[in-house]
Symmetry: C2
Subunit: 200 residues, 2 copies
């Protein structure tokens, strides 16, 4: 096998492995409420959202390809670590260690320098350590809000978060884009009126 064939084999093995992201389900639903949304289609949606909404980043002109790369890979760790509901504070605590192991295994399937690039991008996203990462994270936080408003239905009040918790959880959008934060606040307000969050 030539060095190039060996690279492609590694890359295709990785790309076959990530098929499993289509089997990781989230708490939100698709728009006809027929099933839960999975993390692969969520990743598609936020990558497209970032492209459409990039002009609203307060940091000015960003590297959009870098943002899109982060968003396309940001949930891959869920293949091993599972999706953790944003408002499950117990599960959130254990998540970082599980996700680091998952990132090492998955990105380790790629040729070394490509795997290292992806691992760095994933850590940059998690740390929100650059304007690109902060904007990517703001889009990842906005999509579940807009999705939930059109696909959610009121549930048992003991199972839903308070408006205060949602605002706190999404507050970081403000650091990336004042315009998107205004949209997020307005979406949270409307969703609360609809009974999707507790008004406290």
């Amino acid at each position: 096998m030539s060095p190039n064939e060996s690279r492609i084999t590694q890359q295709l093995d990785f790309l076959n492995e990530v098929e499993k992201l289509k089997l990781v389900f989230r708490r939100n639903r698709v728009v006809d409420r027929s099933r839960f949304e999975n993390s692969a289609e969520h990743s598609w949606h936020i990558a497209l959202m970032a492209i459409v909404l990039a002009e609203h980043a307060d940091a000015g002109s960003l590297d959009v390809l870098r943002i899109v790369k982060m968003l396309l890979i940001h949930d891959l760790v869920e293949i091993d670590a599972g999706d953790t509901w944003a408002y499950d504070t117990q599960a959130q605590k254990k998540q970082p260690d599980n996700e680091e192991s998952a990132a090492a295994r998955l990105f380790g399937m790629l040729p070394a320098e490509q795997g290292a690039e992806f691992l760095d991008l994933w850590r940059e996203f998690e740390a929100r350590s650059t304007p690109e990462a902060a904007f990517a994270a703001s889009i990842d936080a906005l999509q579940p809000l807009t999705n939930h408003l059109i696909s959610g239905e009121p549930e048992d009040p003991s199972l839903i978060p308070t408006k205060t918790a949602v605002l706190a959880r999404k507050q970081h959008i403000a650091a990336a884009s004042a315009a998107l934060w205004a949209q997020a606040q307005s979406t949270i307000e409307t969703s609360t009126e609809k009974g999707l969050y507790r008004n406290e």
Copy 2:
């Protein structure tokens, strides 16, 4: 409403509308065969594939963001026009008109200059008129092959395409990347041995 708020409203209306791509199902299955793959998660997969495999494009250094944009939007027209199976030649004939109408409606929801950019990108992809479009199309052709080999099972021979038809349908990969075409041919060969295509 300020001009910027009005832009965001249009953009978010579009981004809500494209939720429907998660409800368009393809002929291929997810890797545990529990259900058909949908066009949103397929779009995620090929955008990531393009980033990982871009180095194998024969045209040399390409504009990867442009490729990714094309792949993220290439199937949106299916929201109105539906997915047409690659080997259903009757349905394929009617598809272009339906897809042009769908593109006009969907991209028409965006602010004018942004909608025009997306429409141009979609047409560029369809026409494979640039090295970026040819490479994007090769990835869109490769993913169903690699997916089918790991998720497909032999079906009624009268319902499956011949190896010759699959090779003809995928031949354009060769124009974008000799290395990926070699992978495609090898995948088609293995799939035929597995009974996924008729050996004729």
